[in-house]
């Protein structure tokens, strides 16, 4: 079991208010990603759950029990750190088994569990190596091994893939997701990369300035962002925002259209006219950055190849069903 509930969790460092009251319900076995720009408090929130920082107010419930006064080791969670934090003088075996050794398990049992964890992570051939003799991806796996061997109620990941190169990151992303599903253990994963968030999460928590902006499944966030921040943060390239006359016509202060929901027509069409400033041809996609005069710069995405180039005039037609409307304070308008 690993059900985690936050009730009005607050954290201040001196006069600086980092977490301004977070309420969250994390179901057992789900994969939850905290995402947000740097300094939004996502790592702090994770550390509060881990017990590495003390809360300034509120409750953290794990399986219904308030743990704010429980030391980290007793919370039954395990953490994968950004720097991996492997113990450099211990072998892989020692690293993975350290928590079990501290828990006072018998040596045979430690060995059995370590070997099982290593087998899951394809680390068996490296058990007697030191961390410095491993590659980045292998170290990452040792850090994960150290987390899974204790059979925790939940895994906490603090930007674990940010030190890996792009190709390895994609591979580890899949491995972590698959491992989590296979073990069925609750996982909380912190990242600033919204692609990681979208691909890995069952549910995403978008944080900004110490507050939870929205909590929901990836597609919910994509299709029904609660406010301007979430709308702009989720999705790549970023959503286009238009203010003024066009927004007022639709009864909103701001309207937003995702680049993929702008239909690209040749000049003279019925949409918003503009000139292509930059065209990016990726083969699979074409991104057009269009200077649309008073509307500002708009980004449009076309699936597949489109032979348009900088300087060409186009007309962008928004999909009327996919226009997001926001009021003056940035909250989404529905209906």
């Amino acid at each position: 079991m690993g059900q985690i509930t936050l009730q009005d969790v607050q954290k201040s460092f001196g006069p600086v208010h980092i977490i301004k009251g977070a309420d969250l319900d994390i179901a057992d076995g789900s994969f939850v990603v905290f995402v947000g720009p740097s300094g939004c408090g996502k790592t702090t929130l994770l550390r509060l759950i881990a017990g590495l920082e003390d809360v300034s107010g509120g409750k953290i419930l794990i399986d219904g029990k308030n743990v704010v006064d429980t030391p980290p080791a007793k919370r039954g969670l395990s953490m994968v750190f950004q720097s991996y934090a492997l113990y450099p003088h211990m072998s892989v075996r020692g690293n993975i088994g350290f928590g079990l050794k501290m828990a006072g398990l018998a040596r045979d049992e430690i060995n059995r569990k370590v070997e099982a964890a290593a087998a899951t992570l394809n680390l068996s051939p490296y058990l007697d190596r030191k961390p410095r003799e491993l590659s980045g991806g292998q170290r990452q796996r040792v850090a994960i091994g150290r987390a899974i061997v204790r059979e925790p109620k939940a895994f906490l990941f603090d930007e674990p893939l940010s030190n890996l190169d792009a190709a390895l990151r994609v591979q580890m992303r899949i491995e972590v997701t698959r491992l989590q599903k296979q073990l069925g253990t609750t996982a909380i994963y912190v990242t600033h990369d919204q692609v990681e968030a979208m691909t890995m999460a069952d549910k995403i928590v978008v944080l900004n300035g110490g507050k939870i902006e929205q909590y929901g499944s990836p597609l919910e966030l994509y299709e029904r962002p609660a406010n301007l921040f979430v709308a702009g943060f989720i999705g790549s390239p970023k959503m286009n925002f238009v203010t003024g006359e066009l927004a007022l016509q639709r009864g909103a202060a701001t309207i937003g259209v995702r680049p993929e929901h702008l239909k690209i027509e040749r000049d003279g069409g019925s949409g918003w006219p503009g000139t292509i400033a930059v065209a990016e041809h990726l083969g699979s996609d074409t991104f057009l950055y269009v200077d649309a005069g008073s509307l500002g710069m708009l980004t449009a995405r076309y699936i597949g190849e489109l032979s348009l180039h900088a300087g060409d005039r186009v007309s962008l037609v928004p999909d009327p069903a996919r226009i997001h409307r926001f009021d003056e304070s940035g909250n989404a308008l529905r209906g």
Partner: protein, 290 residues
């Protein structure tokens, strides 16, 4: 130094400095070797004569030699043990966030900046003096008989003084090492359920293995040649109780005016230092690899 030209340039520019250093070292060494084969007494000028290895036989069979060798090893070993065993807890304390930490650190370094002669004088006259010293006053306060440090436990007194001087060095090296210990490692250990003691044994101490090695190697080099503290406080006595190799050589040369035998002693000391270094590197040097 990629190309042949830059290699040649580098070598020609380095040559004067290397050459000067070489001469600087080789002349005294050569003279010492030369003197060690002479009968050369300052009391009897003009009587210099080649005596082969006689000086070495004289120095090595002198009962004072074995006594001073033992004193040297006891001194080095005790000071190393004291500075490391006290340096680790001190460094751990100074690694904690306390008010005025920078000032405390400055104060702890202070003994290292005091000249050995000065600190020896302070210890001898202000602290350890059997009549007017601070320790004697403290002893009398509690009704105990003051210890006459330099007569009753002379070698221990010297060890205390030298350890006091070298404790800051060990503490500082260990402190900087502690500060380079990755915070996330300690947190990982905390998540793994390690207590403070376990964290110290399994995480901190292994991390300190290398700085401890550095402390041992560097301190040994200097502790083999401790002289000023002995000269100022006990003058090598009572008897030979605080005479180490360095002091014995001094007394050969400038108390007995026997330059030949002192030179032989100097060369013996070089050999001893190398033997010690050899064993040290064998024992603790592997911590420096990787």
């Amino acid at each position: 130094m990629a190309t042949r030209q830059t290699q040649f340039l580098a070598r020609s520019l380095l040559t004067p400095a290397v050459g000067l250093l070489f001469v600087w070292m080789i002349v005294p060494l050569a003279l010492t070797i030369y003197f060690s084969t002479l009968h050369y007494s300052l009391l009897d000028p003009g009587s210099e004569a080649f005596v082969g290895l006689e000086n070495f036989r004289y120095f090595l069979t002198d009962p004072a030699f074995l006594a001073s060798l033992q004193n040297t090893l006891v001194l080095v070993g005790s000071v190393l043990a004291l500075t490391i065993l006290l340096g680790i807890p001190l460094a751990l304390l100074m690694d904690q966030p306390v008010i005025g930490r920078n000032f405390v650190r400055l104060m702890v370094i202070a003994p290292f900046f005091v000249m050995p002669t000065v600190s020896a004088l302070v210890w001898k006259n202000l602290l350890m003096h059997p009549v007017s010293g601070l320790f004697a006053w403290l002893a009398k306060l509690v009704g105990a008989t003051p210890i006459d440090w330099f007569n009753d436990v002379p070698l221990f007194a010297v060890i205390l003084i030298v350890a006091w001087q070298w404790l800051p060095f060990a503490t500082l090296i260990l402190l900087t090492a502690l500060q380079s210990l990755d915070e996330e490692q300690k947190e990982a250990a905390e998540m793994d359920g390690a207590s403070a003691v376990s964290t110290f044994i399994y995480i901190t101490l292994p991390h300190l293995a290398r700085p401890i090695t550095v402390v041992i190697l560097i301190e040994t080099i200097f502790l083999l040649t401790v002289f000023a503290e002995i000269f100022v406080t006990t003058g090598g006595g009572p008897g030979l109780q605080t005479t180490n190799i360095a002091f014995l050589i001094y007394s050969q040369a400038l108390i007995q005016f026997d330059v030949g035998s002192a030179s032989a002693g100097g060369l013996v000391a070089v050999v001893i230092a190398n033997i010690v270094a050899f064993f040290l590197v064998r024992i603790v040097g592997r911590n420096l690899e990787a």
